[in-house]
């Protein structure tokens, strides 16, 4: 076997293409279809597997990808519980994981995992800053009963404490619930200045409508998983005035020219909407776009040390990701280091407001 022949860069992708989080995985798969054929001169080989929003399936897929396909990079998942499960395989097999979800991992467990989305801390920082400007003192929390909801509650409570913003009621619901009347009752009874809804995709409209149905008049905030047009499609007029925190990709044309991500965000939106229809881009497709930007910078560094398909290359790639320094992507400015695999600067989060069924940057 000649070492010179066909050294492909193999990327194993694990995404929720079915199941409750499929609304997040499918746009990513769409963007992957638009990926270039080569990254840093290496021919790209991409294998996409469906995890069905199921951690067990995600781990099974990850093991298969590292054992049989000898992938250089694992990309995924877009569902938080699955992403956390895959991180174990990344450590075991010493393969870089690029998670498309803000997975929380205990220290030491994330030596091989890097997050493409902004951390909930970074996003909570933007929400708290905006709330402070608006004079919000008390907040009601209405979020998923899963890892995404719990991490947000933790991040938000911590960020809020610093600014004197208190969570006065915390209620949960499941992705599959058909109503949250009872939770909305309890929240409105506490009468907070603002309510933070932590939900994703088209599922984010229902809880907000339940709160509005109970006559709530305060401000309502949504998180970056709700930053899709489905929020307006399902919620209609009721969503007007909602604040949504997001990365810069959501409405790049409105960004000031000084924002370093504007160029990439505009390029991503033009390409995605060009292929799948105007206004169809979202946060998660953006992560798939950023994957290419990250690899284009890190792979050449790693190639200096080893050839693709080897354990040495995988280790070199991890070192490259930790040492490549500030990297501008469509979602903000990344700066991964050995200590910090989250990477985004605190000014990354952008608050948009729903005005006339569209996003308006605040």
């Amino acid at each position: 076997m000649s070492g010179l022949a066909m050294a492909d860069l193999t990327i194993g992708v694990i995404l929720p293409l079915t199941g409750p989080a499929s609304g997040l995985g499918i746009p990513m798969k769409n963007q992957i279809a638009l990926w270039p054929e080569k990254i840093a001169g290496e021919k790209l080989k991409v294998i996409v597997l469906d995890d069905a929003t199921d951690p067990t399936q995600g781990v099974k897929n990850a093991r298969r990808l590292v054992a049989e396909e000898k992938v250089d990079v694992l990309l995924g998942s877009a569902a938080t519980p699955v992403g956390i499960a895959i991180a174990d395989v990344a450590v075991e097999s010493q393969t870089v994981q690029l998670a498309a979800t803000p997975i929380g991992l205990p220290p030491g467990k994330d030596t091989w995992s890097f997050r493409l989305p902004q951390s909930n801390d970074v996003m909570a920082h933007a929400v708290v800053a905006h709330m402070k400007k608006q004079g919000v003192k008390t907040v009601g929390f209405l979020g998923y009963t899963d890892a995404y909801g719990e991490q947000w509650l933790k991040a938000f409570t911590a960020a809020g404490d610093k600014e004197g913003i208190k969570v006065v009621a915390a209620e949960r619901f499941a992705r599959t619930d058909t109503g949250v009347t009872a939770q909305a009752l309890k929240l409105t009874a506490a009468n907070p200045d603002a309510i933070l809804v932590v939900a994703s995709g088209s599922g984010a409209a229902m809880p907000e409508m339940a709160v509005l149905d109970r006559g709530y008049k305060g401000k309502i905030y949504q998180t970056h998983a709700a930053a899709t047009k489905d929020l307006m499609r399902v919620g209609g007029k009721a969503m007007e005035g909602t604040y949504v925190v997001s990365g810069p990709v959501i409405a790049p044309a409105q960004l000031p020219d000084s924002n370093p991500s504007k160029k990439f965000a505009l390029d991503f939106v033009a390409k995605y909407d060009g292929a799948y229809g105007a206004g169809s881009h979202n946060q998660f497709a953006g992560h798939a776009y950023d994957t290419v930007l990250v690899l284009e910078k890190a792979v050449p560094l790693a190639l200096k040390k080893a050839k693709t398909g080897t354990p040495e290359f995988r280790a070199a790639l991890r070192d490259a990701l930790e040492t490549m320094g500030r990297t501008v992507v469509a979602h903000g400015t990344l700066n991964w280091t050995k200590e910090d695999h989250w990477g985004y600067t605190l000014d990354t989060g952008v608050i948009v407001k729903v005005v006339n069924g569209d996003w308006k940057i605040e």
Partner: protein, 346 residues
């Protein structure tokens, strides 16, 4: 908790409970007639709501293609089995065409009607018709040839049907959810409680359906035939009641009830392709409370599940599902202590 909150929670619980009641009734109906524990009952709910949602956008819902495919498979099965039994090609062809007729007619009507954007009521009627005609086809394709199998085998097949229907739902409706417009834009304030038109429709439909079901089983000949099959399949067959026809009727009714439930909840929540499962499961809990054999029992059980769910969401929202599904344990224990099995309960 004061009386205001209690009354709102109660109304919320009863509204959900009314829908669970319908699904519970359908589960009991299917089980007594065919001994199938019909797990995919909730899928009809999602199919009903989403078919209407797609019709609303002026497109042809994917359920129409699924209907045609299933009708073709069912017709083929019918053709082969008739041929095996009677060796009469003309009769076999005739019965196969009979299976095909309604679905094909419905598909043609939908293809013609979808882009014309008829009023909501017409589209709702069409959605119910499409989803209802799935019932007999599902029975024909998945269950009819297993008629004499044990309930466990039938349950396993039902789980398979559930996965198939959810997967196909994703294929046809996509991953994102839809919310339907309400049938009646009414808001009545009764003190602290706000009654919406949709809530009233849910109650009216549930009560009407329950009364109709009661009349059907007490008065109509076909209802009596279904009951006879439920009590003793062999005896009914000896009396000239076709167990195939009974099974198909039971499944058609279950699909009809499911589709109606879908239209009822469509305007109150966002329905996803897989939303039906959990709703159906709560109807199933209600049916289990009734020992899978009593219609009034299923009704009471469903209202009970709805209210418990509502209270649990209020007191401990993080543990709501745990509380609702744990309920089934003491009830099962009580039922099993209560006494042995009768032959009628299978």
């Amino acid at each position: 908790m004061d009386s205001t909150i209690a009354s709102i929670l109660l109304l919320d619980g009863l509204t959900n409970g009314a829908v669970y009641a319908l699904l519970g009734l359908a589960t009991v109906l299917v089980f007594t007639v065919t001994r199938v524990i019909f797990i995919p009952q909730g899928e009809f709910v999602a199919y009903g709501a989403l078919t209407l949602a797609i019709l609303q956008t002026g497109h042809v819902p994917g359920t129409v293609w699924l209907l045609l495919i299933m009708a073709c498979i069912a017709a083929l099965m019918e053709l082969v089995s008739r041929w095996h039994h009677h060796r009469n090609p003309l009769a076999a062809l005739k019965s196969a065409l009979k299976v095909l007729a309604v679905p094909v007619a419905l598909a043609l009507v939908t293809l013609w009607a979808a882009p014309r954007q008829f009023p909501l009521e017409v589209q709702a009627l069409l959605s119910v018709a499409i989803v209802t005609s799935f019932g007999p086809l599902v029975y024909r394709v998945a269950f009819q040839s297993l008629e004499d199998a044990s309930p466990l085998v039938l349950l396993i097949v039902a789980v398979g049907v559930h996965f198939a229907m959810t997967g196909l739902g994703l294929l046809f409706f996509g991953a994102e959810g839809f919310r339907n417009p309400p049938f009646w834009d009414l808001r009545l304030s009764l003190g602290p409680v706000t009654l919406t038109g949709q809530t009233l429709i849910i109650f009216a439909c549930s009560v009407a359906l329950i009364v109709l079901l009661w009349l059907f089983f007490e008065r109509a000949l076909m209802g009596k035939a279904l009951r006879a099959t439920a009590v003793n399949r062999l005896g009914a067959r000896l009396m000239g009641i076709s167990s195939h026809a009974s099974g198909q009727t039971a499944f058609a009714m279950a699909a009809l009830i499911g589709a109606l439930s879908g239209l009822l909840i469509g305007p109150t929540t966002t329905v996803f392709y897989d939303s039906g499962f959990l709703i159906g499961l709560k109807g199933f809990v209600a049916a289990v409370v009734a020992g899978l054999s009593s219609y009034p029992g299923a009704l009471v059980g469903a209202l009970f599940v709805g209210i418990v769910e509502s209270l649990a969401s209020f007191w401990a929202s993080a543990f709501k599902e745990v509380i609702v599904f744990t309920l089934i344990l003491p009830i099962l224990l009580w039922r099993s202590l209560q006494g042995g099995h009768s032959d009628e309960e299978h």
